[in-house]
Symmetry: C2
Subunit: 204 residues, 2 copies
DNA sequence: GTCTATATATGGATAGAC
DNA sequence: GTCTATCCATATATAGAC
């Protein structure tokens, strides 16, 4: 670490980055303040100077991860864009950001179990879920799609979200390196666009 | 709880079931022995009579979950079954078992992160992954499918596995009860069969 | 703002009566 | 085989010197 005079904000940023790494790997219960302090290169008790306790540190980190996930989701989608276009835009934006941070997805999935109230807020503050779900419903009404909006929706988030959440599982199933995995995800973006087109064609 | 004379095995079964519930929910680090004991209806310290410590209890439970996942996977698939049939049979068998135990899927996903070596064994002992992957490759060679076997494979496990791993997330996104979720998963089985048929048709 | 020392809380493990 | 009491380790949190 380079010795310079750091502002409080800078030190906090270093701590949060260290904490993020440990929390994503070990979870809230499994993370040790010692490990976070080591990772940040400061004394363990100094952590308390910046963040009163573990939970507040977790919340600080979490609310940033939270923002990061939001950034993956294009909320400027126009109202009367065709469903196909909505899905394609969503996918591109999501992939662009998720490839950089695939660890966040599994973390989120776990948070939905352990802190459902918090996650409900994330969803509610940001009505993309309802927007896409309703777009599916409209599309069914228009006769572009058959069947059930919920099932289509589940399929869509499965093929986009899961490959990131299951990063480690996929690597081991395909017996490939991390680099190979990243390659697969890069080419998966185009694959999904094709998948969306076929999904609509085959339903007619 | 009904008071009868229990054999050691029976008591162990009760403890493991209680422990399973708590471990799946909280993970190894987050689980409290007190909670497991309460759930099992015995004293906290009595746990130690049956299992020396937390880790041994965890391993006992884990090795059973391990068996349970194996049961979901039909390994008696015939060699020259058509890919479409392989996928349909796999899906039916998987859903039949996963609906009863959707919690296991997220647990597994996490284990692939925290204990990759163990999980690799699970995969290797049971070559279903390679079998399906190769079936995709053969199908591409035969001209039934276009594109990349790995991408098709990832899509297939995404649409089958993810809806269980993301149980809580889906419930909150769709703002539905647990019963509604189970209903969706029951009807999803047929949806997936349709999905598989369309997947092949649209590729021609 | 960081360190040493120390307090406190929690939870896991053991001993021994019954 | 279960309970009470107790111990001990770990990890979080605080106080106060520097």
């Amino acid at each position: 670490m380079i010795l310079t005079t750091q502002t409080r904000k800078e030190t906090e940023a270093i701590i949060k980055q260290a904490a993020r790494k440990v929390f994503l790997q070990k979870g809230l219960a499994g993370a040790r303040l010692q490990e976070i302090a080591d990772e940040a290169g400061i004394g363990r008790t100094s952590l308390h100077y910046y963040y009163k306790n573990k939970e507040m540190l977790f919340n600080a980190v979490f609310s940033e991860n939270f923002q990061e996930i939001k950034k993956r989701i294009p909320y400027q989608l126009e109202e009367n864009l065709a469903l196909k276009e909505i899905l394609i835009q969503f996918t591109k934006e999501y992939f662009r950001n998720a490839i950089k941070n695939p660890d966040l997805d599994l973390f989120l999935l776990n948070e939905f179990c352990s802190h459902p109230e918090l996650m409900l807020n994330l969803i509610k503050g940001h009505e993309i879920t309802q927007f896409i779900l309703q777009a599916f419903e409209k599309s069914i009404q228009k006769g572009e799609l058959k069947g059930n909006a919920q099932q289509h929706f589940i399929t869509f988030i499965s093929v986009t979200f899961f490959p990131f959440a299951a990063k480690n599982m996929i690597q081991q199933m395909l017996q490939c390196s991390e680099n190979d995995y990243i390659q697969y995800m890069h080419s998966r973006e185009d694959y999904i666009v094709g998948f969306i087109h076929q999904y609509f064609n085959s339903q007619l």
